[in-house]
Every structure is written in C-alpha cells, then in structure tokens.
Subunit: 397 residues, 4 copies
C-alpha cells in the first residue's frame, strides 16, 4: 500500500467546481498591475476595449453593461431595469439557480409563474409556448430562463424557446442567464433574439468573481426607459451613456477590467468556435467516463447535455458530500456540491474555462480514485473511456 | 533649457487623485493568487478573517457587510435596507458626492431634505440639530452625511452631528459615508453611534475598486428587518447569516478579498493610530505648500480640513483641467479634477492610502513644476514649506 | 471521432521534463516583489534566512554557498575551489550529465578517470572502492558522482559509495551532484560524509533556474584554502565570510532569493520526510504505468530507481522525439528528450517538485494518449496501473 | 513639530542606490510567469528575441553572451575568454569597482598595471595612450576600463581612450565595464571599437540582479579561440553556438530572460536616445541640487559627470553612513554608501533606470530633509534648484 497521508497538499489545486474556474496566469498577472485614474485617458482606452470585446463574446452589436457585482447582481439589474413590482413573469424550474432567480424576482415583487421541472431537463419550449399562447392579454411581461443550469448540468435550448415565443406572437421580453455558459457554450444574444443576457466573470470568462454583465437589446432598453420603478446602481442609462467614451458614472472595478481585457484577448486568440468545440469534447469525454463508471448523468435529455459541467448521480446510499470531502482531502480537488434538493445525491464536475485534455484527465482520475478512497461502488474504466473519447481511440459515445 | 519631451512616460506613475489610491505590492500580489472554491473550508477561513479585520478598521463590534460593488453600491445598500420609498431623510450638501447620494436617494424615491451648503464647509451639526428638534413628529427617518467629502476635501464632524441628533432626542437613523475616510481619518462606528457606515475598497483600504462595505448597528438591523420594501442583492440578512460561518450567499469577489486580508494586515501592522497620524502629517504639509504658493484651500474651516485630500482653488482665469492635463502629460501624475460646479476652478491632491513623505514630496514638486509648465501664476516655495512642515525645520501651520 | 485541432493550446501547460519544474504560485509571487538594497538591513535578514534554510534542506550544519548561476556553475565552483589543473579525479559514467561534468573537469585540466557505465546503472560502489584501494599513492584527489542522473533516471547509492571510500581508507574528497535530487530524494550532506554537494534551483527546490549551490564540508574548505589555482567568482572564502552577516561580496540575485525563502518555507511546511515519500509514491506509480504499457524503464536496478524522473525506452523503430513532438503539439505537455546516445530511443517523465497525484495522472494520461496520437504501439492500461499504485486499489509494484 | 515616528514605513520604498534599480511592474510581472522547457520551441523564440534585443542596446551587430551570474561574473568571463595567467593588462584606478576588477584580474593571475587615480576622475586617455606607445613589444594584452565608475559617479571617456589606443597603434584588446551605464548612458560597442563589453541586469536594464552580459567583438572571439587556458562555465564558444538557434548549452535563467524581453521592449518604446536624454536631465538636476546645498560633487571633471548617479561629498566631520541610516530610518530611502576609501565621506544618489521627474524630486527632498534629520549642515534650496533645472524655470547648470 502506497497512500498519501491525508490533508497533505502540494502541487496545484484542482478547482473543478463549475465556477469560479481556473484563472489563467496571463489574466491574474494583468489584474496585478497598478490601478489607474478612472477618469484619465488611459482608462478610456481600457473601457472601450473591454466593452467592445464583450460584444463579440455575447455575439451582439448592442450595449453590454459591466457591473462591479456578482452574477446575482446582474440578475437583479436585468429585472430592475425592465420590470416593475407587480409585473408577471414566466420562469422555468430548471434547478437551484432558476429557483434562486425566482426567489429574487419575488423579493423584487414580481408575480412569478414558475413552470415546474424535475431538475433533469431544461426549460421546455413547448410548455412555454403554450402558456404564452394562452396569455392573450399579454399579462406576462417577461420570460426568464437559465441557459446553462449550473446546479444540474442541463442546457436549455434558447433558440427553440425564442421560436416558441415568436410563434405565440407574444411581446414578452426574453431574459436569459448565461452565467455558466458564456464563453463556454455557443450563445448568440442578437441572433437568438434575447433581450437581456445576464453573465458573470468567474466561469467561461476565466476571471475571478466580481463582475456582472447585462447585454441589452433595443427592446429592453426601451422597456427600461419606460420603467419608472426605483433603481439607481443597476440603472443602465447612465452607464451606457458614460460607456460611450469608455468611462463609468462611478469608480469601476479597474483591475478586474484589466483581467477582462486579457481574458477577451485569449478567447479571441483561440477563436470562439474553437472554445465551444473544446468544451464539447471535454464534456463528451466526461460523460463517457461517468457511463463507464456505471453512474447516471443527471441531465436526462442528450440534447440538453451541458458542455460546461456534468452532474453525476451518486449510487444510492452514498453521500455525495462525504465523497467530495474525501476527494478534497486526499486529492486536493474541489468538486461541485449537490445544491438544495440535490444535496448529498449529486456531485458536479466542472470542465469549463481555462482547461485542457490533461487537466481533464487529472480531474477524472481524481474522481475515480476518490470512489475507492471513499468506498463508493463503481465500475473501473471511466478514465479509459474518457481517453478513448478524447483520442477517438475507440468508439466514443 | 532642459525639458523632457512631452508624453514620454517612464518610471512609476503618480496616482494622486483622492482614490483609487496606490495599491501596495503586497496587496496586488495577494490578489494575484488562484481563485478558490467559495464553498470550501479554505474560503471560510478567508471569509472570517476579513469580516473580523474589517470590524477593527470600522471600530465596531457589529456586523460589517462586504459587497462586490463600487462604493455607490454600498450607498444603495444602506438606503434599501433601512428605508422605504416615501421615507423622508435629511442630508447636507457638502459637495458633489453628497449631491450624488441625494440623487440616488431620490431615484430610490426617498423624500430628501437637502440642507444647502457652499461646498467649503462640512455638514453643520447645529443646523441638523435644529431641523431635527423641529421634527416633532419624527417624519425624518434618517440623517445621511458624507464624512469626508471627496470632491472638496472637507471632513464633517460626525461626533458633533451625533450629539446634535441626541440632543434633539430624535430617533432618526444615522447613515455616514466614509468612502474616502475609512482607513485614513479616525472613524469610530460604535463610539460615534452611527447606524450604517458606507465604505469602499479603493481609498484608505488600499485596494483596487470593487468592494463596497456597510457597517451596521443593531438599530439599523432592526430597521432592516422591519423594512418590507423590495430588495435582494443588497439585503443584509442573508449575507450576515452566511457570514457567520465565513461564506456568502452568492459567489463573492474572492481575489479582492485576498487583497483585503493583506491590506487589513498592513493597517494593523502600522497601527490605526499611526495610520491616522501619518495622514494628518501629510495633509498639514500639503496645506503648508498650498499656502506658500499663495493659493486657497477650498475647505474654509480648519476644524474640517481633510487628512485624505486637499482641494486647491485655481487662480482666477486659469483652468484647473488644462493644468491637470499638463501635469499628466509632463510629469505623469494624475490629480483629481474639480467635480460639477467646481469644474475648472479646483484641483484635488490625494494624499491618502499607501503613501509616505517622499511620495508626497514628489507629488508636491509635480504640482509646483506643473504651475510653471502650464503658465499658472504662483509664489514659489510650496515644496519648501511642505518640507518644513514634515521635518519641523521651521514653524509649520 | 473527437480530436482537438493540433497546436491549439489552452489551460495550463504540463511541464513534465525533469526540470525546470513547475514553480509554485507562492514562489513566483515572492519573486515578483521590488528588489531591495543588497547592502541594507532588510537584505541581511533575507540572506541569513535563506542560508539557514538551505542548511536544513542539504541536511548539513556546514556552509552552503549560493551563486547566481546555473547548476553547471555550481559544478565548476566545486571543482575550482578544491582541485587544481593536473589533479586526478575518479568519476563514474552514469549518463549524459556525468559525461558533461567530466567534460568540464577536463576543460578545467583535471585528469579524469571515467569509470565506464551503460547509462542504466548508477555509480558502482564496489568498482569505486576497488580503484581507490589500488590507488596506494593517493593520486586520486576526488571522487565525483552524480546522485540522480537526470538523463537516465538512475539514482546512485551515495552512502554505499561513501562506505567504499572509507573502506579503502582513501583521503579523496567526495563531490556529489544533487541537481535533480535535492528536495526530491533523501540526501544527507553531513551524515553521508560528502565534501561538496552541488545543486541548482530549478528542480526539487521549485524555483526558476538561476541559482547554483555548494554545500561544503570542513575538509573541502581546508582543501580550498590550500588551493592556489586561479579563481575569483566561484571562490568560497569571500562569500562565506560575507554570508556570516547575511550579505554577499557582489550583488546577489535578490529576487530569486525571495523565491528561495518561500520555497524553503514550503518544503518545511510539508516536511522533508513527506516530500521524499511523495516523490517515491509518484515514481512508483509512474513505473507501474510504464510496465503496464509493456515498455522498459531505462534504470536497470530497482535499488537505483529515481524518485524524481523515469526514463522510458521507446519500442524499437519509434522515434522518441517525434513522439514528444506529438505530445507537445496535441496535449501541450513537455516531456524530457533522450540526451546524447539516448537521443530518439528514450523519453523522460519528470515527476518532481511542486507536484501531486492528479497532475501525475494528467501527465500519464497524456503519455498514454500520446502513444495513440503518435502511432506508438503499447498495451493500454498504464493509467489504470498508476491509479492502482496510488490508491493501493490492487497490488502495486 | 510634526515628525513621523522613526522606522515606521509605509508607501513605496525609495531605492535610490545606483543599482539594483527600481524594477518596472511590467518587468516583474513578466518574470512572474511559469517557467518553460528550455529545450522547447517557445523557448527558442524567447532566446532569439532577447539576444537580438540586447544587440540593439549594446549598439552592436556582434554576439552578446548572457550569463546567469552577477556583473562580477561577466567581468570574469571577459578575462577568462581572452586572457591567460601571466598576461599583462593595463587598468585605470577610477574607484572601488575598478579596484575590485583589478583584484579579480590578479586572482586570475594576470599581471596588472594599475594606473593610479584619485577616484574623482575617469581613466585618462592620454596616460593610457602614452603607456601603450611605450609598450613597443606589445606586452600589454588588454586595456580594461570601467565606463561608469559606480563608486564615484565618474564616467570615463571611452571613445577618447579608443582613439588613444589607435594612435599608439597598439593591438591590445579593449575591455569595458558598462555595468552601471548600459541602458542609462550612451554606449556604442561597435562604433567605439570595444572588444568586450561587460554588463549586468540590475541597473539601466531595469531587471533584478542575476544576469551578466558580454558583448564580444570578432577580435575578442579570435583571442578566445586562441586562448588555451582552462575555463568552462564562462566559455563563449558553446554558448554562442547554441544561441544561434535560441538555446543555451545549460539551463539558462528563464524567468529573468522573460524580464529581459520586457525590459528591452520598454527601452525600445522609449527610444535609446530618449532614455539617455532623460538620464542626462536627471543628473543635471541632481547636480544643481548638490551645488545649491553647498556640497561638492565627487566627480571633478564636468566632462565626466555620470548621468547614472551622483556621489556627494559630506561636509567634513559628518559621517555619510550615519546620515544614510537616518534617511533610511526616517524616509524609507536607500542611498548608496561610500565604498572603500570613500566610506563615511561620500554618499551616492542613484538616478538611473526606471525613473522620472517626480521620483527624482521625492528623492532629492528626502536627501534634503535627511540633512535636517541627521543634523548635517547645508544650505537649503537644493530641491528648488533641481526643480529649476528640470523645468528650465531659471538658468540651470
């Protein structure tokens, strides 16, 4: 026997939660530069560069608003700008984050219709379409969907939902959370007719947490101008106006913006199409491993597999958090916990952001060795299946 | 003649705006470390450390809430937690930032009584006391004051205002903005009976911008619990509850928190009393220079001189922003602009944060040489006066 | 099929050559601090700290001299201080680096007896002992051995060689190169009676290259004092004298010394015994993988397996460097080349320094997937065998 | 009185010794990147870039050899490659570093003729010319001169010395130490007919210490090829051969080379002519200050004023090192000590490297305030004189 003493960590930590993700050295080093005057000419160049670069990543020609905030702040911004207390909105229960966004909407006094879900499927375009078709009086002011549900590894089909809204000929705004998909999974703000896209810095954008984003359509901007309900910090108008010359109405998070400039450059060097293909490959390899282990993927519909993370269902009777604790202790790897009703029954493997084949293989080896270390029953071979998937060495799934 | 070619910059930029301030290398390097799992045990140690350290800097035993936000976000948090649309508040027009806070309060539908000011004095305790004494029905729900008005270099006398409130026997909450004073000018949340203290990361705390703070009294907490108006991101309750174990309800700005831990350590190594004395010394030396140049300090009352910055009135007929542009171009130093109604007539020298005698002297030499370069009339000798002040070489002011 | 486009690299590079090794973030960030006055009091504290810490890592109470140099510089220092042109020395041909050290000795005009070797074994204690026993006139002034031959992954048995010298009752100095063993493989300068230990910064010490080391016995110091041959830069005397107060006679490599201080702290936090056990585990797992692939380990004697690297013999007819090129291109991993006569027939896996189980598994997965990508025949299963070895899941070797 | 408590340091240290100099953030951050394989393709690009960039800074088309070493290592390299024990060389006693180089030459068994000097003048072209003219048998193999004597602030006139050698029609090699001039004071390896130029990283090149340089003429290369005396580490041949493809024969100091690449980029962005003009301006301003204080500049000949540093003679009866200690303690500034026979009577102000007007003014203010703090008699006004010099506000010198 040849085991490492527990809790003795050396080498690089494996941060394989579905975000925050591993921040590239180039990005960290960019952040590690002296703060500058946020009203000076050098800042304006920075501001214009990041706003412009963001548009390319959101695939939009419309404004992208960047907040010093968490992703939840960007949720709030999307709501406060476009909706008012009492407004009715249609949301879909895709998992924990959809539920949290709903809670926020309710705290902000919206009337939420929450289409129930089993946390194994994405938002259903047909059900949404049907509900909107029913809503002849257009009481529903917005449809709010989480693109990639970080708690479940299920990616809702945004273009189909858009089509459903259109087919219902319904004027509702379309608000989409891409916090864990932007920069990892193909997403097209303009082409898909989204009105507000919500994002955060700490996932596919490869930054530390601390920035929130709203990409905003003309229709959303018009709604915001018409919206008299109280707001200040999140209000788009002043920010968009100041952004025109590269500034903000308050002191923005300068150093994180340095990092954003560098991260955007990295995404462009790789090319968005390549970034998405890379995430697809790693997700496929991860699922191959999970299947080989004889475990179930939480996501029930292959059309909705997430390329950013995979949620794995624990064998019955085994606690996912105990398992995660063993993996952290023994192999210095952080895996994502099962959230809310998935607590203890699911763990999540993040395979997004600044990532590559060998880091994935280290990750999956850690998952597999963790089963042994925690006494979780499984069929060996997941790591082999993943290698097969990556190399095309054998049929993959 | 021996002039440098314009716009050729080498060496270290002098960032002498009154914030963001110069971030210490130790702090930048702390920020430049890999992001960790915000739900793991290592994060909890970080969370508890920064919350605890903040209390010592705010001089409070009560909760300090840390937001991923700008300082304006912390303004909004203070309002949304304790007040509701329609509530009446008393504010004092000390300058541009007091005016901005007022604007925010109005956007958030408060009824603001704005005691007029000349932007050369702090909030007047007597006037506030008189207004509160008049307010028999206790319509006024809060008194909101900017401790150190960053646009003018005037520091309001918070303990005297507290006394005025007490003498009026008025139950109004007391909300104080310390964005440009915390960590630079003595400030005592508990002893001075403040209910909500608002702060930001990028001034005396020596961090990049991106964190906002609320220190919160029991009375403020009670008000917040009783307050039914809509809010989510800024809501204290969930954050304070999660903070008990060192966590946040959402993904906090992990890397800025690394920096905060380091900055708090630096403040404690120096000792808060020494930190404040250092700022006092530098402010006195700066004023000595301004007087020697034959210029006027915007702050009209010596009891209210700011130890964080000094606003200088330009000789009539000379544009402060043209002058600032020359200084930036020629000497690679950023000075603070005159804001709003002070535009063009005032410039501001920041002497706060991670700072020392020689950096101050470089700064003041740049100001003085800038007068020549920009053709601004002045009496030579400010630099000498400042050295005299620092060394006690001659009588100082 | 599911392949990544060639030469598209994202995520963290796998630097799995046997040095330079992966430098920990803590160490890089320590290096990334302002340079200080090398004659000031703060420097003295740094100097004393690193000299003292080095002693613990070399397991010596005698002086350790630190040079701004490569490891080859430390080789030269060991020779120039203790030996003179014309001196006869006994060396053992353990591989490429022993051969390079021999070449250097010859350039420096020593008379080298080079005991031939097959590059698959370490220096043979018996042969050395026999030669010394024959040398009745004590013509041989020094025995020079490479502890861990970086080109072959063979670790010579230093204590046995020491015993052989003692049994021959021979006064020769004992010079040992630990460039790729120090901080990775147990090594005891004092206990093993070594006179000069040569080391470098970029392997087990987890630093960038740029520092060379000599640990020096009393006997070596005496030899150096008696040695009249010309030398200056490498001369121990002045350095050891200046080191007493924490200084150097010239400007030392200050920032690398910052890194050294941090790296020494990390080694002590982990504990040297744990550091060595960790390297042993990883080496055992790597060998398990190599055997499972059906390939040969270059090191022929299990007593001499290196815990720092494993050299793997390519199947006949397959070029190791072509294979390495494919691995670099496809998987962004650097493996060690076969040096000199091993060129094309051997590749080397570094598993030393700042390293852990999951990085090892990523490494071995990359080696295995590289076989496929380069069309190298192998038996699948190495990765599984390594996991078994690490977890004790099945019998390991 | 308004003094800071002693030894309480905050803000940025003023490192105003004449090297190591203040390393730019860009350079430190470049160094703070992961070490790469020194035999891989990415390294080759780095290697070629820095070798090429160095040529432009040395103003040469001939090879520049970069060592992991201190500047003294580069001294030794220059000697060992071109000269042999017993060779006669002509050196000039310009100060402490010339004396140290002489000592090294003697340790390496050269026969040194050391033309005496008063440490206030540079090497005298006429005396050198006369000695060479006398040396009909060409016994003198090399003339070795320090370009900028760091211990005195005197810059020898290299082109005039070259002319003197030529006029004597003497074949001696010309070896020049530019450790504290390269990148600060105009220097032209090719145009001035120097055979070996010696340099270090930690002065005008704005890097941490740890790299030594030799720029090498064809004549020097030929001498080296003909030179049979023992050497290995410093031998040019193998390095120059390996450099052709961007590599080194051993592991070079990779991370410092990252820094070198960045520093070279910065020098080129500013433009060498601008870099030299900037140093001239700052030196002139410094001398204006010294004169205004009523103190003497050590350098006695205005043609030989150093643009990199100024050595100041203390008033008689006052100890320069006590003064320096007070300045360090009170103002957190490191000034250069008086070396060897100048100990206690001279201090040195470094004004080279990454530097600008305001940092110079902070420096000079610290020097002036230090006089007060240490009780050193002086005439106030140096700081004013320096400002006048910088701005051309009044006649400057």
């Amino acid at each position: 026997m040849n085991e490492a003493p527990a809790t003795l960590h050396t080498g690089r930590h494996f941060l394989q939660i579905p975000g925050p993700t591993n921040v590239p050295d180039r990005v960290l080093r960019a952040i590690d530069m002296p703060t500058i005057d946020h009203r000076g000419p050098e800042f304006a160049r920075l501001g214009l560069a990041v706003i412009d670069g963001c548009k390319r990543v959101f695939q939009t020609a419309q404004p992208v608003v960047i907040y010093p905030s968490s992703g939840t702040g960007a949720w709030e911004a999307a709501i406060l700008n476009t909706l008012s207390p009492g407004d009715r909105v249609l949301m879909a229960e895709t998992g924990h984050f959809a539920t949290l966004w709903r809670k926020m909407a309710e705290k902000l006094k919206l009337g939420v219709e929450f289409q129930p879900g089993d946390w194994r499927h994405g938002a259903d375009p047909a059900t949404i379409g049907a509900r909107l078709a029913d809503d002849r009086g257009h009481a529903i002011k917005a449809v709010m969907v989480v693109h990639n549900e970080t708690s479940t590894g299920v990616t809702s089909r945004i273009p189909e939902i858009r089509r459903a809204i259109d087919q219902a000929n319904h004027p509702a705004l379309f608000l989409v959370d891409t916090i864990s998909s932007l920069g990892s999974i193909d997403y097209r703000h303009d082409e898909w007719g989204v009105d507000v896209t919500v994002a955060g810095s700490q996932k596919g954008l490869m930054l530390p947490p601390g920035l929130g984003f709203n990409a905003v359509s003309d229709k959303a901007l018009a709604a915001s101008r018409a919206n008299a309900s109280p707001r200040s910090y999140w209000d788009w108008q002043e920010i968009i106006a100041a952004n025109r010359t590269g500034y903000w109405p308050y002191t923005p998070a300068t150093n994180l913006l340095y990092g954003l400039r560098e991260a955007l450059a990295m995404l462009e060097e790789e090319g968005l199409a390549n970034v998405f293909a890379r995430h697809d490959r790693h997700a496929a390899a991860t699922r191959a491993a999970v299947r080989a282990w004889g475990m179930d993927i939480l996501c029930a519909d292959p059309r909705e597999y997430s390329s950013a993370l995979t949620a794995v269902m624990m064998p019955q009777g085994y606690d996912a958090d105990h398992y995660r604790g063993v993996v952290l202790d023994r192999f210095d790897m952080s895996l994502g916990t099962g959230l809310a009703k998935l607590k203890g029954t699911v763990f999540r493997i993040g395979h997004l952001g600044h990532f590559n084949d060998l880091t994935l293989m280290g990750t999956l080896a850690g998952v597999e060795m963790g089963f042994d270390a925690a006494g979780v029953p499984y069929t060996p071979g997941g790591v082999i299946a993943a290698m097969n998937s990556l190399t095309g060495r054998a049929e993959n799934l």
